[in-house]
Amino acid sequence: MHYKILIIEDNEQNLYLAKFLLESYGHVVLTALTGIEGIKLAESSQPDFILLDIQLPEVNGYEILEKCKKNKQLFNTPIIVVTSYAMAGDRERCMSAGANGYIEKPINPDTFMQQIEEFLLN
């Protein structure tokens, strides 16, 4: 199965990394460096799911998560948080804000796609 994936991530190296990894499995990858830009792109391109970083400039990932869940065009789009923000309670906070999954950075390229697919199935 090949997905259309939107990655919202402000660190360019990490963005390149995730994009390269997912593209090498044949997925189509769209990218945004800020949350607001990400929401616009998600509305216009309707990705299969969104990978969202938490520590973003201006509007952070939690707020983006909430905006997406309230957005008529996006509330059904699964969102998987991918973050190195890993503080105690982050996972719980993201999940209760409506995230479908939570992956801690550093990501493991060997298992990244599997982790995502498990979240999508649940």
Partner: protein
């Protein structure tokens, strides 16, 4: 601080992983070997950073516990699966026993796993032949988790030091074992946070036993 320390590691671990998988093109055996070493070191650095971050938070009193109801036996199975290869590599027997009376637990799954993984890792690290085992028994409303090994043991004079941060016993042998000496101090602080305690019994050259007692969190 955790974000700042882990972001660069994401790209180091991620790109070495991608290269090792051959996703950016084929590598010759020497390149694979060197990248493999780089990846191991990066992974080791990540473990150190995670430990240092934990101890910093614990010492600053900023440490939080997140309790959920979870299947204790399943969590032990997960631990067994992830640590078995390490024991196998050293030719050690690994034994896991969970009292059938133990079902669900209401506690911080991740933190309990962290304690057990630390203790079993130590058992594997400080044992050259024989076994490492975990026995979990239900005692009233507590679970007693005993990690026993047939390893180098700890001299009575050293026992009081092992729970202090950055303390490793200088036996000449233990210098061969890498680590920061943070594992046990984190375990002790976590056990306390979770409403329990951790004790140790050890005999030099015979083996050690670490006993963690934690409430199941379920009232009946």
């Amino acid at each position: 601080m955790s974000h700042e320390l882990r972001t660069p590691l994401n790209s180091i671990i991620g790109f070495t992983g991608i290269l090792l998988r051959g996703l950016a093109g084929p590598l010759n055996p020497e390149q694979l070997k060197q990248l493999g070493m780089a990846k191991n070191s990066a992974q080791h650095l990540l473990a150190l950073i995670n430990d240092v971050l934990d101890i910093t938070k614990i010492e600053a009193g900023e440490f939080e516990i997140f309790k959920n109801k979870y299947d204790f036996r399943k969590s032990v199975e997960f631990i067994a699966e992830s640590l078995n290869p390490l024991a196998q590599k050293k030719g050690l027997a690994m034994l896991f026993n969970v009292d059938p009376a133990i079902t669900d637990v209401y506690s911080d799954k991740r933190r309990i796993e962290q304690i057990l993984i630390n203790l079993i890792n130590n058992g594997i690290k400080f044992t050259d032949k024989g076994y490492v085992k975990l026995d979990c028994t239900l005692i009233g409303n507590d679970i007693e988790m005993k990690v026993t090994d047939s390893g180098i043991g700890i001299a009575p004079a050293d026992i009081e030091h092992i729970f202090k941060p950055f303390r490793q016993i200088d036996t000449g042998i233990s210098r061969l074992h890498e680590g920061t000496g943070l594992g046990l101090s984190i375990c002790k602080a976590l056990a306390k946070k979770l409403g329990g305690e951790i004790m140790v019994e050890s005999n030099k050259n015979i083996g050690s036993k670490f006993i963690v007692t934690l409430p199941t969190g379920l009232k009946d």
